[in-house]
Each structure stands twice: as C-alpha cells, then as structure tokens.
C-alpha cells in the first residue's frame, strides 16, 4: 500500500509546498498554477507515450477542444464552465475515439506524424468557423461560474487534479492494464505474441491520455481568459508535454511533476527576463531535447541521478573509495555507475 502510493504522496507534498509558495503573491500563484496545468498535461502524455509506448504529438487537440468548448459555451450561451467541462470531456473522448481508431493502426513514426497534424487541422477548422479569438466574459468573483480574482483558487483545483492523476498513475502501474502498457512499450510484437491485445490497450491508453489533456485544457482556459486557436492548438503545446515528461522521466509516476517543476518556471523566467528574444524559450527546449536524444533513453532525470552518483563516488575521500573489489554496500552504486557509463559509451 505505502509502496504503491509513496511516489504520489511525495507529489502531494510537493503540491502542498507549491500552494504555500503560491499564497505569497499573485505572480507566484500564477506560476504554480501554470506549473500544475502543465504537470497535468504531462501526466496524460506520460500514460500514452511513457507507459504504453506510441509517441503522440496530438495532445494539443484534446487540450484545445475542451478549452474551446468551455469558453464558447460560456461566452455565447452563458453556460457555466462546470457544464462546459463535461461537454468538453465528452466531445474530447469522442474525438479521441475517432483519432485513436484511425491513427493507432499506424506504426511508430506514422502514428506520431498523424497525431501531430490533427491539432493543426483543428486550428484551421476553428478559424474557418470564425473563432479567431474568444474572450471569457468577466462576471467577477463567482464560484458558480468558476471565476476568481486570484490565481491561487485555480491552482488548488489544478493541484487536486494533478494529485488525482499521480494517484491514478501509481495505481495503474500495479494493474494488469498498466503491465500490458509496459509490455507493449518494451516490445509490441512480443506482447502481441504473448496474448496482449495490443491495439485495444494502446487505445485505452490513448483515451486516458486525452482525458488528462482535456482537464489541463479546461483549467488553462479558465486561467488565461482568452481562447485563441493558434495558441491552444500550437504544436508547441504537445511538444511541451513531451519535453516535460522526457526531462522528468517517462514511465515514472513522478516524472511529469518533476519535469514541470523544472521546465515551466524556467520558461517563465526566460519569458520575463529575455522578453526581447521571443524564441529563446523554445530554443532552450530544443537543446534539452537534443541532449535527451543523444545521451539518455530514459529522460534527463536518470542522467542527472547517474551523474550525481558518479560524482559522489569520485569525490569521496580516497580511503573510502572502493578498490578493485568493491564492498558489498557499494554494489548498487557501482552497478548504477557502470550502467550509466555503458549507456554513454554506447552513444559515442
């Protein structure tokens, strides 16, 4: 029990600390709220691509459609965002069903490319129907319309959703479904041969991922006040989810949260301090992606841990340093270091 849920408990502790930090000022609240939204988005990508394997770049589609539906229903027909969320989730699931049934039949690269094109098409369609920008009407502080003056309230909602996502992911790891996901990721053909209905389980992962992306899109739309198709359907939305998980560690429970904690504050920082260089943010993402592609299969996090381990071994006083035959207690560290150096060696 504790073993299964230790990672999400750490996550919840982090979220509580985030809440305390967010209470200090409005800009802090905004920052933690954005971080939580992206952590939620990353949780969705983590389930599809971190656990089940196929690399989806279409998460922006579900993120955007829920944001769109919630905002438009509110702006045009005065429908409360809670109802908007339900409608958004239903539409998003229907969309995920159609997209999943078609694209999941494609192999690796083609699946990725096909999913990448979908948000681009949805942006086009949204513009075609005349929605270039939809502002959320201002009704003042109102619980009924999910509108608050400070960002901290949104953070609380987002943090609860992230906590739910972390608990869900941790629970998933132990179930048959979760194990099937990992089997598919590691070797789809072998999984199929061992009797795993690979298509069905990839489909389930795709639907689960779309739900988290929808929830993230919903909170995001409430936080940002203006809906614009070019913003929510931008490929960078999907890429950012991928980036966060790759940095935090794909296929781990805490990966999305750790990644979001590193990426989003850094992004905000460059946006504020280097505002005259509009592309710098994404340029830095690109460099991190290159590092991940070249040096680490499992994300930046294991690379950092491995590096710290190697450093730790090197920096210990000479007397404690293991000689030719390492002591029993050093086995784990040695093995880790050896594995890390082997991984680095393979890439060169």
């Amino acid at each position: 029990m504790l073993r299964t849920y230790s990672a999400p408990l750490v996550g919840i502790a982090i979220l509580v600390v985030g809440g305390v930090y967010g209470a200090t000022s409005e800009s802090a609240a905004n920052l933690v709220a954005m971080t939580a939204v992206w952590a939620l988005m990353a949780c969705g990508w983590n389930i599809i691509s971190g656990y089940a394997g196929p690399i989806s770049l279409g998460q922006a589609a579900f993120f955007g459609i829920t944001a769109f539906i919630t905002t438009v229903l509110f702006a045009k027909w005065n429908v409360t965002p809670y109802l908007g969320l339900i409608v958004g989730l239903v539409v998003s699931l229907l969309l995920a069903t159609v997209i999943g049934l078609v694209t999941l039949r494609l192999s690796g690269l083609y699946f990725t490319l096909a999913t990448l094109t979908i948000p681009l098409i949805m942006a086009t369609l949204t513009r075609y129907f005349g929605y270039h920008e939809v502002a959320r009407p201002y009704v003042g502080e109102s619980l009924a319309y999910f509108q608050f003056n400070g960002s901290l309230a949104y953070y609380v909602v987002a943090a609860v959703l992230v906590a739910g996502a972390l608990l869900f992911t941790a629970r998933l790891e132990g179930t048959r479904t979760g194990r099937y996901f990992v089997a598919i990721r590691e070797n789809e053909r072998a999984a199929e041969a061992s009797g795993v209905p690979t298509f069905r389980y990839k489909f389930v992962a795709f639907l689960l991922g779309s739900v988290f992306a929808s929830l993230a899109g919903w909170v995001y739309s409430q936080l940002s006040f203006v809906f614009s198709p070019d913003e929510v359907y931008n490929p960078i939305v999907s890429v950012q989810a991928l980036l966060i998980v790759l940095i935090g560690g794909p296929g781990t429970v805490l990966g999305p949260l750790v990644g979001a904690l590193l990426v989003i504050p850094l992004g905000e920082f460059t946006a504020v301090y280097f505002s005259q260089l509009p592309g710098l943010n994404e340029l830095m993402y690109a460099i991190v992606l290159l590092v991940v592609a070249f040096w680490s299969r499992r994300g930046l996090y294991p690379l950092l841990v491995g590096g710290a381990r190697v450093l730790w071994i090197r920096l210990r006083p000479a007397g404690e340093r293991p000689v030719k035959t390492p002591a029993v207690t050093d086995d784990a560290a040695q093995e880790g270091a050896a594995r890390d150096s082997a991984e680095v060696g393979r890439s060169t």
């Binding site: 690269l109 094109t117 994404e282 592609a293």
Partner: protein, 293 residues
C-alpha cells in the same frame, strides 16, 4: 473553364509538393531515418533565398543554384553531427532530435527575421502567361519546370547510374550491400545530402510565389507526410503523381469550398488511402512498407 483552370493550377502547385515528398521519400526509403525537420529545412532554404535576394536583388531563378549549394553544405554538416550518430539509436531518438532541429530552425528564424511574413518581388512571378482562356502564373510555371528537371534527374540518378545501384542496394539491405563492398555509410550521407538539396529546391522555388514567416514550415508537415504515402514508398513516379494529386485536391477545395480547408481535405484523402490502399498509388504491396493497416 474554371475546372480546367483549377486542374492546371493544381498541377503547378502539386509539382513542387512532389519534390517535397521526394526528399522525404529518399530519407525514409534509403536511410530509414525519421526527419521531422524536413519542412523546416525548406523554411531555411526560403529564408536563405530571401537573404540572397535582399543582398543581390538578383533573379530568384539565378539564386536557385546558390541556395542548392549552400543547402548541400548544410546537409553534409547535419549528416555528420545529427544523422550518423542517430541512425543506430532508433526511431524514438530520431524523432526527438529532429523535432529539436525543427524548433531550433523555427526559433532562430523568429529571432533573426521577426514573425512578419516576407516575400520576394520579381517582375515576372506575378504575371501570367495566357493560353487561350487559361492563365499560367510564371512563378508557378518555374516550379513546374524545376520539379520536372529534378524528377528526371533523380530518376536517372537512381535507375541509371552506378551510384543509383549502390543507393538501391543499400536501401534494400544495408548489411548485404556492405558485404558487396559498398561503403554504405557514404551512401547514407549522400542520400541525406540529396534530400536536403531537394528541400532547398522546394524552398528556393516556393518563395517566389508565396511569402514566408517562421511558422510556414508546419504547413509543409502534413504534405511531406502525405505525398510519399500516397505515392507508395519507394516509387519515384508515384511520388510525382501523388504531389500533383495533392496539388489538384488543394486547388479544387479552395476553388469550390474555402482556402482554409484545403489541407484538411488533403488529410481526409490521406486517411482514406491508408484504409483502402495502404501501399499507395504506385507502390507494390510486397514493398517493405512501414504501415501496418
């Protein structure tokens, strides 16, 4: 007459999409390398042509060879630093790294050239040749001529030269080709440079008839994916045919529906193809095709 004009425009537009697909086709077919940045290499070539034109005011037709030579250099460099180390690391690493390359190109363009759309002005690109009641835009006509030359040259290279034999052999089975004494890593390099050169041709031609801004590249993404699949993997005539087909579909849908919808219709066509004829127009069902429908 409207229909005939639309078909003609489709041919003109589609010719250049054929070249776009051909570059992708070569990388996929020979190296089995996943390049997400192909559209962004086209973007790079567009900005390169723009820069050269701003500096020299020379005719874009004369700038084409210069752009191609520079792009060959870019291709060589990318082959050394990106493709060679990534080929053994698998599809996932290739996707991530080329996505990073795409972001780097796009955001450098954003930083250096600002987000405004820019275009080249020539005295001939916007004028049209009248043929009976039909209009032929010179800028696009140049695209048709260039892409016809490119397709003929590529077909000749692959089918009629010793290098082409090496490329085909490597594409079929790298190990066996290696045993026959072919320097396959050199063939890989040549194939990649060739694909970047083709991206350069697309960019240098496309800038004449269309403005460029840093986000232009994403619209190539759908097309560079669709054309090789429609044409059939490994088929050069199929790629040309698919390019023209895509162009015609685009022009027809923007003539009779709305210009915003053109890429969506192309995508619908693509999905239909995947379901009904996954080997593409001219591909063989026995080809080593990577789609498991």
């Amino acid at each position: 007459m409207v229909l005939l004009q639309a078909l003609l425009n489709g041919l003109l537009v589609g010719a250049i999409w054929g070249v776009l697909g051909l570059g992708k086709q070569i990388v996929l077919g020979v190296i089995h390398f996943v390049n997400f940045a192909h559209g962004h290499l086209v973007l790079l070539a567009m900005y390169l042509a723009l820069l050269l034109w701003t500096l020299t005011q020379a005719d874009p037709f004369l700038l084409l060879p210069i752009v191609v030579v520079i792009m060959a250099g870019v291709g060589w460099l990318l082959d050394r630093v990106l493709v060679r180390p990534l080929v053994p690391r698998g599809e996932r690493a290739q996707m991530i790294a080329t996505l990073a390359l795409a972001l780097i190109i796009e955001n450098l363009a954003l930083m250096i050239a600002s987000p405004q759309p820019r275009s080249i002005q020539t005295w001939w690109a916007d004028t049209a040749l009248r043929l009976g009641g039909l209009f032929l835009n010179y800028g696009q006509l140049m695209g048709l001529v260039v892409s016809a030359v490119v397709f003929a040259a590529t077909w000749w290279l692959i089918r009629r030269t010793p290098l082409g034999v090496m490329i085909r052999a490597t594409s079929q089975n790298r190990e066996a080709a290696q045993y026959m004494g072919i320097n396959t890593s050199r063939v890989y390099g040549i194939a990649f440079v060739l694909s970047v050169v083709l991206a350069g041709v697309v960019g240098a031609v496309y800038i004449v008839s269309s403005p460029v801004d840093p986000s232009t590249a994403w619209s190539f993404l759908i097309l560079m994916f669709v054309v090789p699949v429609l044409g059939g993997l490994g088929s050069i005539p199929g790629t040309a045919l698919a390019g023209v087909l895509v162009g015609i579909v685009q022009v027809l849908s923007s003539t009779y529906l709305d210009i915003e919808l053109q890429n969506m219709i192309v995508f619908v066509l693509f999905v239909l193809f995947l379901v009904l004829r996954p080997q593409g127009l001219l591909g063989k069902a026995t080809d080593q095709f990577r789609i498991s429908v």
